[in-house]
């Protein structure tokens, strides 16, 4: 009976695949995001940033022998089931050369473990920040353009200490993102002899966090560090903390650097709010990207758009470099951005293509950083602390 169903399934699939088949020479890269699920609000801009990279490739002569580069969107729903399903489809049905994503760490771990590592497909996640990804036995196929939470947490701790924050309370969302950041932040802040006067996780989706805040405030800190999402529970916490005057100053991780707090709470109320976020080290790379993304109708300040763009652009370069050989993508990915060679800025596809054809070494300088991967496929991040100005978030200070 089982085989019959597999046969039916195969038939269905064949039909779908045929229906979906466009020009067969297209080169495909998977874009697997948390389109539905908890980060659904962030996913669309991340995907459109990646699509921008592909658009630039196609406008500047296409990939390999002038073929079209197509981004195939899949939904990981931010859970392992969805992640593996989407990755399997991307790898097997669409025949992608590489994957940008999945967006959530849990989906990255599951998709990598069951699909992409065995299949030898390179994945670059722009937002899977869990330290667990570092330790994956990945045959060098799992990369990320976003630093592990460890980096950001520590960098934020050092910067805050320098800026004179000595006693803080930490509220973090109880998931891999919040826990990772909070643990790293706590360790570093205490190592810098700062005082953590309150440290508590919270669950997503409750209506009131006032008692949580009161409990955190009872330690006597005047600053609240929030590791959460600005368009999720983080907003509720920030609002209730502001309204009730629990703390004077507020600090957010990159998840809090979202437009939602400004839109919902008003910039005038956020004078004491700062948030860290990854930024490109070479500001001209970032500028180039910002320009292009704005022109394409996107908001370059949205979270993870630079890392998504970089992941997509670098994979395009790597596919070009590997000559379309899927197995060669991961090695090529390391070659195109190892700090040596002619610098390539975001959008400079034509130039890069010529250099690759000529066999010249290139070095991609991304919007979110240089992306010189370490042995585990991780990147050290560069971060800045942002404050809320008249036109939204403005860089206040670089973080080290």
């Amino acid at each position: 009976m089982k085989s019959k169903f597999i046969a039916i399934a195969g038939g269905l699939l064949a039909a779908t695949a045929l229906a979906g088949a466009t020009a067969k020479a297209d080169v495909k890269i998977g874009l697997i995001g948390g389109v539905s699920g908890p980060i659904a609000a962030m996913a669309p801009s991340m995907i459109s940033a990646a699509q921008l990279a592909f658009q630039q490739v196609n406008e500047q002569g296409g990939i390999l022998d002038g073929e079209k580069l197509v981004g195939v969107v899949g939904d990981s729903a931010c859970n392992p089931q969805g992640g593996t399903d989407a990755a399997t489809k991307a790898v097997n049905i669409e025949g992608v050369s590489a994957i940008v994503g999945p967006h959530c760490s849990g989906a990255v771990l599951a998709a990598a473990g069951s699909v992409t590592i065995p299949a030898g497909i390179t994945v670059v996640t722009p937002s899977g920040t869990s330290p667990e990804i570092t330790g994956l036995d990945d045959k060098d196929t799992v990369f990320r353009t976003v630093p592990s939470d460890d980096y950001q947490g520590r960098a934020l701790a050092r910067t805050l200490k320098e800026k004179g924050y000595n006693k803080v309370a930490v509220a973090y969302i109880n998931n891999d993102y919040g826990t990772g950041l909070a643990d790293a932040f706590k360790a570093e802040f205490e190592a810098q002899s700062g005082e953590i006067a309150g440290f508590a996780a919270h669950e997503d989706g409750k209506a009131s966090y006032r008692s949580n805040l009161a409990e955190l405030a009872s330690g006597g800190a005047d600053t609240l560090v929030i590791f959460d999402y600005g368009d999720g529970t983080g907003l509720t916490i920030l609002r209730q903390a502001l309204e009730n005057g629990f703390f004077e100053k507020f600090v957010g991780g990159d998840g809090m650097k979202s437009d939602a707090p400004i839109n919902e709470l008003g910039a005038e109320n956020l004078a004491t709010f700062v948030a860290s976020s990854p930024v490109g080290e070479k500001s001209d790379s970032l500028d180039v990207f910002n320009e292009a993304y704005k022109a394409a109708g996107g908001d370059p300040d949205a979270i993870f758009v630079t890392t998504s763009y970089d992941a997509a652009f670098m994979l395009a370069l790597a596919v070009e470099k590997a000559g379309g050989d899927k197995a060669g993508v991961s090695a090529a990915l390391r070659e195109i951005s190892n700090g040596e060679g002619e610098a390539i800025l975001p959008g400079e596809w034509e130039k890069a293509k010529k250099l690759i054809a000529a066999g010249t070494a290139i070095d991609y300088k991304g919007a979110a950083g240089d992306h010189n991967f370490d042995a585990a496929g991780d990147v050290p991040g560069t971060y800045a602390l942002f404050e809320v100005g008249a036109d939204g978030f403005e860089v206040m200070v670089e973080m080290k």
Partner: protein
């Protein structure tokens, strides 16, 4: 910790939250008692109500309290419609089938909200409101509205149930459905009335949750367990019990932070629920056990 601090940061938020739970729990308790099944789509109906109010607020620029009646009527209509379209045909089947159907309805209502309004956080009014200080008590206007409206709505409902013919018919149906049918009480009308009331109150719960925090597509689902805990704690079929239960669950959730790690706050409602089932399933005010 000072006494005022306890009141301001734990009890007052608990009472406000509890009032919101109470509004939902009253509907749950009525549906449970009269239609005799646990309606698992209640939370998502509340979400729908909150977003209907948002539509009115953004389209007409009205304050959310003015949009409240519109949302209540709209959600009541949707609730009646859902009953007619989906639950009515299952009435002759074992009740648990309807419980299952309601789980599917929860999903359907939620996805409608997600398609129409998206998945981003929204709020009725931009900006923040700092609480007023009343002799050391820090209370916001909207918190007072929330509690006052809850008491008002439940009061009107109680009056209706005790004084009016159809209100009594609802109680009769809850008390002894077979006998109510034998007495010639029109089951269909009672069911419809129940849905109108439950839907309206549910929308009020959603709107007040939205007023006090933000609107999110999952907001109602997250409230489902506390609302059920409140209904069962108060005693199924007991309107005043649902209010009492709602307040207790709300305050207990806020106070739980003092004794439990804060990530377990969401578990408080469930602990109360399980404890009640274990020691006194009829609830505080001796309701039904179905």
């Amino acid at each position: 910790m000072g006494f005022l601090e306890l009141i301001n940061f734990y009890v007052i938020p608990g009472v406000v939250l509890g009032s919101i739970y109470a509004l939902g729990a009253v509907g749950i308790t009525l549906v449970f008692a009269i239609l005799r099944y646990a309606h698992l789509a209640h939370g998502d109906l509340a979400t729908l109500g909150a977003f209907l109010a948002l539509a009115v607020v953004t389209a007409l620029g009205l304050p959310p309290l003015v949009a409240l009646p519109v949302a209540m009527i709209g959600t009541a209509a949707v609730a009646v419609g859902i009953d007619k379209a989906f639950y009515e045909h299952l009435r002759e089947r074992p009740k648990i089938v309807t419980v299952m159907a309601s789980l599917g309805i929860a999903l359907m209502v939620r996805s409608v909200v997600q398609v129409v309004w998206g998945v981003d956080s929204e709020s009725y009014v931009r900006g923040i409101v700092r609480p007023e200080n009343y002799f050391g008590l820090r209370i916001k206007d909207r918190e007072i509205y929330t509690v006052v409206f809850m008491i008002g709505l439940v009061g009107v409902l109680q009056l209706f149930l005790v004084k009016s013919k159809w209100g009594k018919a609802m109680r009769a149906m809850s008390d002894n459905p077979n006998l109510a049918l034998l007495s010639g009480i029109d089951n269909k009308k009672v069911v419809m009335l129940t849905w109108i009331i439950a839907g309206g109150l549910c929308a009020a719960a959603g709107v007040f949750l939205g007023i006090n925090t933000e609107l999110k597509s999952m907001m109602g689902w997250h409230m489902l367990l506390p609302m059920f805990a409140a209904a069962i704690l108060g005693g199924v079929g007991r309107v005043e019990g649902a209010v009492l239960g709602g307040l207790i669950v709300g305050i207990a959730e806020e106070l739980s932070v003092l004794v439990l790690p804060s990530e377990y706050k969401a578990a408080m409602a469930f602990v109360i629920l399980l404890f009640m089932l274990l020691v006194r399933p009829t609830g505080l005010l001796r309701g039904k056990v179905l």
